[in-house]
């Protein structure tokens, strides 16, 4: 793509020092944002010799995938990754189901008696949160402690996401919906056949918001899951990388030679915990430039 400058005629050309300064500042920002990720990947591929040599592991001299091999051989990390995938998939599906149906059900507050009150109740949740202990007591009294529902349900509907989707639904031309109604469609059919297909962009963005939330969550798991064998990957990461507790069951294959250094092992787990986000990010990014997100953030 050609680099098309769009400087209007009335604007003076910035001086060389200004341009230089701008470039340096922006370059510094980009480097600061990217560097930790690069360092993470580099260390995860470092061999024991690289780490022992000390100094910079910015690019390992003897890259090795041994850390990944021993992780993917099975054990805690693989199980935790699968748990996280399961929570994310089920949670996102549930969140989207509840949020989209509710958002559509609340689009005609003038027609549907009681729906204005329902909308106000949902919006009210933007103003307060019951707090950690009351939420814990609720989950406990519903007998959900130590079940995966305890990490899925507390965050299943976000009022913010509800408002964004509802706002989008309200923008769909009335005539489309009313003529479907004249053809005998009920509201469920209208939602499924007309409204949802017209809302793909906003649904994609909100699904990804929910999915990223479930994937990144560790606190609900920390609070509600006592059994470490149920933990999602973020909580295993906290235990292993941040608190330095060794992973008991990592199987080292003697045929693989020298065991991987702990740092590269830790960073390999971090890479695996980040990978799904890095994979969906480009998909999400397509929508940043479209109005969806700007409207969404303004609320």
């Amino acid at each position: 793509m050609a680099l098309t400058a769009r400087r209007p005629v009335w604007m003076e050309r910035p001086s060389i020092p200004t341009q230089l300064l701008k470039t340096i500042v922006l370059l510094a920002i980009v480097v600061l944002m990217v560097f930790p990720f690069l360092s993470m990947v580099a260390v995860s591929f470092a061999s024991a010799a690289d780490v022992l040599r000390g100094g910079l592991v910015l690019w390992p001299a003897h890259p090795t995938g041994i850390a990944y091999e021993s992780i993917l051989r099975g054990g805690i990390v693989v199980r935790a990754l699968l748990v996280s995938v399961g929570i994310t998939v089920v949670g996102t599906a549930l969140s989207m189901g509840l949020t989209t149906t509710m958002a559509y059900g609340l689009t005609r507050t003038r027609d549907v008696p009681g729906s204005r009150l329902a909308l106000l109740l949902a919006l009210g949740t933007l103003l307060f949160s019951a707090g950690i202990i009351p939420n814990y007591l609720l989950v406990k009294s519903l007998h959900l402690l130590n079940t995966y529902w305890a990490v899925i349900l507390p965050g299943a509907v976000s009022a913010f996401n509800l408002v964004v989707i509802r706002q989008f639904f309200m923008g769909i031309p009335h005539e489309l919906i009313e003529s479907a109604r004249l053809d005998g469609a009920n509201d469920l059919q209208i939602l499924l056949r007309i409204v949802l297909p017209l809302s793909k962009a906003v649904l994609a963005v909100i699904s990804l918001f929910y999915a990223v939330g479930y994937w990144n969550d560790f606190f609900n798991a920390l609070l509600y899951l006592n059994d470490a064998s149920m933990w999602p990957v973020q909580l295993v990461l906290r235990q292993y990388v941040l608190q330095g507790t060794p992973l008991g069951d990592v199987q080292l294959n003697p045929l693989l030679g020298q065991p991987p250094p702990p740092q590269s092992f830790q960073m390999a787990v971090v890479v695996l915990g980040t990978l799904p986000i890095l994979l969906v990010y480009p998909l999400l990014q397509r929508y940043f430039t479209k109005g969806v997100l700007t409207g969404a953030i303004k609320g």
């Binding site: 000390g54 329902a118 949902a122 004249l182």
Partner: protein, 317 residues
């Protein structure tokens, strides 16, 4: 045909608001079917837990539950006034909030102005795609990779050591804890934060710049008299909302890192509730702090929204 159809649709719409309440509700049964599951969820998971706040007035024991635990009136609230840790947590919260206001709040505005001044769209888009990324990375991973760069055995210290210099563990220094939290916030959210300001900047009428330039205004005067007034509405809105959230500072972020520096330097109100209430088993006191913080926080948010409306801006609620 299309006109006729639209007219019929209008009639249908009017007809839908006619009839007895019962008839109207029956006619809209599908709408109820659609929103009631969500509503039930909101009531059960957002409103029902509020009842749990009663344990703020109890000497709660998980074995007895809140039906059988002893009532102690306001004793938990009296305790929290004299508990040194509560005071420290409040001070830490307010100091971090203050630092955020001074250091974090202006950062996305400045970055948005800088990005907006770029003339090449492709370059700007490339930079945007990099700086939005950290927003989507969870705190466990953010802290892990910061540790990898700045921790005791991290990249920077290895560099210092190889040069024969003193090493500093930024990640475990109580004095640096608060600025570190703000620095991490900036790293994670500055890019994402530019979105709303960039939208406001794009909305400014180009003819204003043109007219100003023709009248001989330099870039500084155009910034001062066109750009800044153009985004001041959004800036004030976000500033007031930030003030409304002054008692809430990054809970997950601090929960993960507070153990590195100890409670004196790193405890904030939310982590106090977790560490003292849930982990320490001091449920009543934890709930009292949580209730007070929640009530004050709601008042602040409502007050902030009221203030926004008073200033002639569209409020959030």
């Amino acid at each position: 045909m299309a006109v006729g159809r639209a007219a019929t649709a209008g009639r249908v719409e009017r007809a839908r608001r006619a009839g007895t309440l019962r008839a109207r509700m029956w006619r809209e049964r599908w709408m109820y079917l659609l929103f009631l599951p969500g509503l039930a969820y909101v009531v059960l998971f957002r409103y029902a837990p509020l009842i749990g706040n009663v344990i703020a007035f109890q000497d709660y024991s998980p074995y007895l539950g809140f039906t059988d635990s002893a009532w102690v009136g306001l004793r938990n609230f009296a305790d929290l006034l004299t508990d040194a840790d509560v005071g420290a947590a409040l001070v830490n919260t307010l100091v971090i909030s203050g630092l955020q206001l001074v250091l974090f709040f202006p950062a996305p505005i400045a970055l948005a102005l800088l990005l907006n001044s770029l003339m090449t769209d492709a370059v700007r888009r490339a930079i945007q795609s990099v700086i939005y990324l950290p927003h989507f990375i969870g705190w466990v991973i953010v802290v892990s990779i910061w540790q990898q760069v700045l921790g005791g055995d991290g990249f920077v210290n290895q560099l210092l050591r190889s040069q024969g210099m003193h090493t500093v563990n930024v990640m475990a220094n109580p004095d640096l804890f608060k600025p570190l939290m703000v620095a991490q916030d900036i790293w994670k959210e500055v890019g994402w934060g530019t979105i709303i300001f960039l939208a406001a900047l794009t909305a400014i009428d180009v003819s204003l710049y043109e007219a100003a330039a023709i009248d001989g205004a330099t870039w500084w005067r155009r910034l001062r008299h066109v750009t800044l007034p153009g985004i001041s509405g959004v800036v004030v809105l976000l500033l007031i909302l930030r003030l409304g959230g002054i008692l809430t500072v990054g809970f997950e972020q601090i929960l993960l890192q507070q153990p590195n520096v100890g409670a004196r330097a790193g405890q904030v109100l939310d982590t106090f509730v977790y560490f003292r209430g849930v982990v320490g088993g001091d449920w009543g006191l934890g709930a009292a702090v949580g209730l007070l913080k929640g009530a004050l926080g709601t008042l602040l948010v409502v007050g902030a929204n009221w203030a926004v409306k008073r200033l002639g801006q569209e409020g959030v609620f």
